[in-house]
Amino acid sequence: MKKTLLAGLGLVLGLTSFAAAETVTIYSGRGETLIAPLIKQFEAETGVTAEVRYGGTSELATLLLEEGAKSPADVFWAQDAGALGALSSAFADLPAEVNETVLDAFRNDANKWVATSGRTRVLVYSTERVKDDDLPKNIADLTNEKYKGRVAWAPTNGGFQAFVTAFRLTKGDETVKAWLKAMIANEAKVYRNNGTQIDAIANGEVDFGLINNYYLGRYTARDAEFPVGQTTFAAGDIGNLVLVAGAGIVEASDNKENARKFIDFLLSPAAQQFITLQGYEYPVRTGIIPHATLEPLEAVNEISPKVDTNTLGDLEATLNLLREVGLL
């Protein structure tokens, strides 16, 4: 009898302590290797236990859509604006003050999500086979005979698709379609993602690649001799587009308070500094020491086209266009 009572008490206590434990469930499209230390720091700072499901941004986005109102997720942290846009309906509204902490250029006007870092589209090239005067001035140059069969791209990649979306919104569908067709005619080679394009340049398969800015640093940090360089196009060219990674609170969450704690943490100076230095990305707030190997954000903002990041979630027309020209 006594034993049963004690066991019952233990059970109740156990349950209580379980219920009292502060947790937050995060679906992270960002890789574990980069993010894990940040999660640890969050747990240490807030006492909230973070349960993280890592996966590809797109797989997790699909999973969230499938889970719908029954999703166990509190926060979705995505690699690209396309996924964030596609999930707008699944996100809870963020208080306006959240977006007020980030720089103007990165703000989400709808307050559905908040940018957690910035990155830019860049051109990578072979330092062995490309002379400085051979570098293209803008993306239109890449359709020249001179670049025939030498350029890599990744049509399934979220960053590339965001670039096409921005391109469409600034120049119109017809121009983009013409450019895509010209690139195909110029034998641009399809790769799976950003990293494989860098490999392909090093391997001598191609000489140029259209990727995000933060990949090459991981190679050059380990091997100073790595034969791939990174550059931008002429000021204002769409090829210099600024993109964001961001996070939102899932509408289905019954734990929005802790979700908010995590978002706030991501925007905190410490986290921003970590992402900047470890991830080779741009911080979304002021007062962060920039990465030494990256061009300062001010310079980037100067040469990048003026495109509202809020509009980059409009994927549908982009996908239709890519399908029409046979890239998807």
Partner: protein, 534 residues
């Protein structure tokens, strides 16, 4: 009267026992769930979009590419597997055990690691450039993807062909020889027709795998049908048109299943004689020894040497940080899920195979086909179906180990059919009938007379499933309980971020641990054929 003729007749009992029907229903329902899910999603489609996304010329082109790839993989795989299986079962080549082990081991290599290995041969960091100073042309496209896939799927063909060789009555070959036929003629007219069912069955398994694979193929920059499905899910976050495309893939699967039945109709594995399988006098290779060894050396170098070299290379490039504790935990966690999943698969596979052999009919063949459909369902769609049904009907199961294992079992159960089927055909029904004539119920007869002799093929089959589960990715990604990660997930996420050095220890442990189990498969699978001989 042949063993087989009795086999089909023996089953003419009015209705199969519940002990067979219930597991079969579980398999049937479990594998039908994804089909239901896909049909349901497909109904949301908009007719005009359908034309643009699903019924367009590009998909036909992709489908054609898929078929080309299947043809290349099966051809290359057979070119590796058939001579190897023949050499280790029929000739006087030495170290047969070791050679069989080496031929089966590439099964443990994850597909994208194999792709990286082939790419690594030629690349900037490639061995060719680093060690020999030559730049090889990169291996891309159809042949690159075909080679990569065949290099880690051929062991499956090898294991099946080896078992078929071992189970074949050598007297047939000898009598053909006594009729004055040359070795080549005997091989073409006696051996090959007998191998045919085993060959076609393993072609089906490998072919369906190729149709569904995405990782290795994408790295090889070859566009196939699964690419269209992946693009739809991941590019467009769309589940409706992806469902249409997945259903098209399943239709292809059903066609393949029917084709398999058509080409193997009236042909069976088993020896029909009543004598025991004698050990034939091995064929002396003579001066062909050198050629045989060169063949094995080449296959081992490509299928094992390259991946191991690329992993060693990655480890040298970036010294991995001390993640040993994490590695150990992950390995243990992986095996603790894969192990029970493999055992459970076998528990369900045995009744289904018994049902198809002993109670043939529309129900049995439906269940068997559904199991293959489950195996062929694109993994992402399979996982989403589990998410859908679990959240609606059993939310407490969502993201639990139970659901994860259920998904593994349902998608791999077809893999376990082969070894059990072969063993059951070789055992025949006579002994069970003899037991029943001695007054024992059919269930007891099966348990006491047949099951003890199925132990080996069951172990072999579950180890096969085990290895597949260890390498599995999409289902694990979507259904794993919070905080659970497998070795394969760690390899994939690290390679995906270009952190090859960090990925290498995880990939290496997959190969090393799996190699233990491959060794066990051979130990059990090889003697199964002999045990069933009498």
């Amino acid at each position: 009267m042949t063993v087989l003729a009795t086999f089909t007749r023996a089953g003419r009992t009015p209705s199969p026992p519940l002990l067979l029907v219930v597991p079969a229903l579980v398999v049937g329902i479990g594998t039908l769930l994804p089909v239901f899910y896909l049909l349901m999603r497909a109904l949301d489609a908009d007719a005009s979009q359908l034309g643009e996304i699903v019924f367009r010329q590009r998909n036909l082109f992709l489908l054609l590419n898929t078929l080309k790839l299947v043809a290349v993989v099966l051809t290359l795989g057979t070119l590796f597997a058939l001579p190897a299986a023949w050499l280790v079962t029929r000739t006087d080549i030495r170290f047969k055990g070791l050679l069989s082990f080496l031929m089966a081991l590439p099964l443990a290599v994850p597909g994208y690691v194999m792709a990286y290995a082939l790419l690594g041969l030629s690349g900037y960091y490639g061995f060719a450039r680093q060690w020999a100073g030559i730049s090889l042309p990169p291996l891309h496209g159809l042949w690159g993807a075909g080679l990569a896939l065949s290099l880690y799927t051929f062991p499956y063909l090898f294991l099946n062909l080896r078992a078929a060789f071992l189970g074949m009555d050598p007297a047939l070959e000898e009598s053909a020889q006594s009729l004055g036929k040359s070795r080549l003629v005997i091989f073409r007219h006696i051996v090959l027709p007998q191998l045919w069912p085993a060959m076609v069955a393993s072609w089906l398994i490998v072919g369906l795998y190729v149709i569904g694979d995405f990782g290795a193929i994408a790295l090889m920059r070859y566009e196939v049908f699964s690419y269209a499905i992946f693009t739809q899910y991941s590019g467009a976050f769309d589940r409706t048109y992806a469902a249409w495309l997945s259903l098209m893939l399943l239709a292809l699967t059903v066609v393949a299943l029917s084709a398999q039945r058509a080409v193997t109709r009236n042909r069976r594995f088993a020896r029909t004689g009543t004598g025991s399988a004698r050990i034939t006098r091995p064929i002396g290779l003579g001066r062909w020894h050198l050629a045989a060894w060169a063949f094995f050396a080449l296959v081992v170098l490509c299928s094992l040497g390259l991946p191991l070299m690329v992993l060693g290379h990655w480890m040298r490039l970036g010294v991995p940080e001390a993640e040993w504790a994490h590695l150990g935990r992950t390995a243990l966690g992986t095996f603790l899920t894969a192990g029970p999943a493999a055992v459970l698969t076998m528990v369900l596979a045995v009744p289904v195979v018994v049902l198809t052999l002993r109670h043939p009919g529309p129900f049995a063949s439906l269940i068997e086909r559904l199991a293959f459909v489950g195996y062929a369902t694109p993994a992402l769609a399979f996982a989403l179906a589990m998410v859908f049904f679990a959240l609606r009907n059993a939310p407490f199961l969502y993201q639990s180990y139970a659901l994860l294992m259920f998904a593994y079992v349902m998608s791999f159960v077809a893999l376990a059919f082969g070894p059990i089927r072969l063993a059951l055909l070789q055992i025949g029904t006579r002994q069970e009938e003899a037991a029943r004539a001695l007054g024992v119920s059919p269930t007891t007869a099966f348990m006491r007379v047949v099951l003890p002799r199925l132990r080996r093929p069951m172990v072999a089959g579950s180890l096969l499933v085990f290895i597949m589960v260890v390498k599995e990715l999409p289902i694990t990604y979507l259904l794993a309980p919070m905080g659970y990660s497998t070795l394969a997930m760690n390899v994939f996420s690290r390679t995906n971020e270009g952190m090859m050095g960090d990925a290498a220890p995880f990939a290496l442990s997959i190969i090393l641990f799996s190699s233990l189990f491959v060794g066990l498969i051979l130990k059990y699978e090889g003697s199964a054929a002999r045990a069933a001989g009498k």
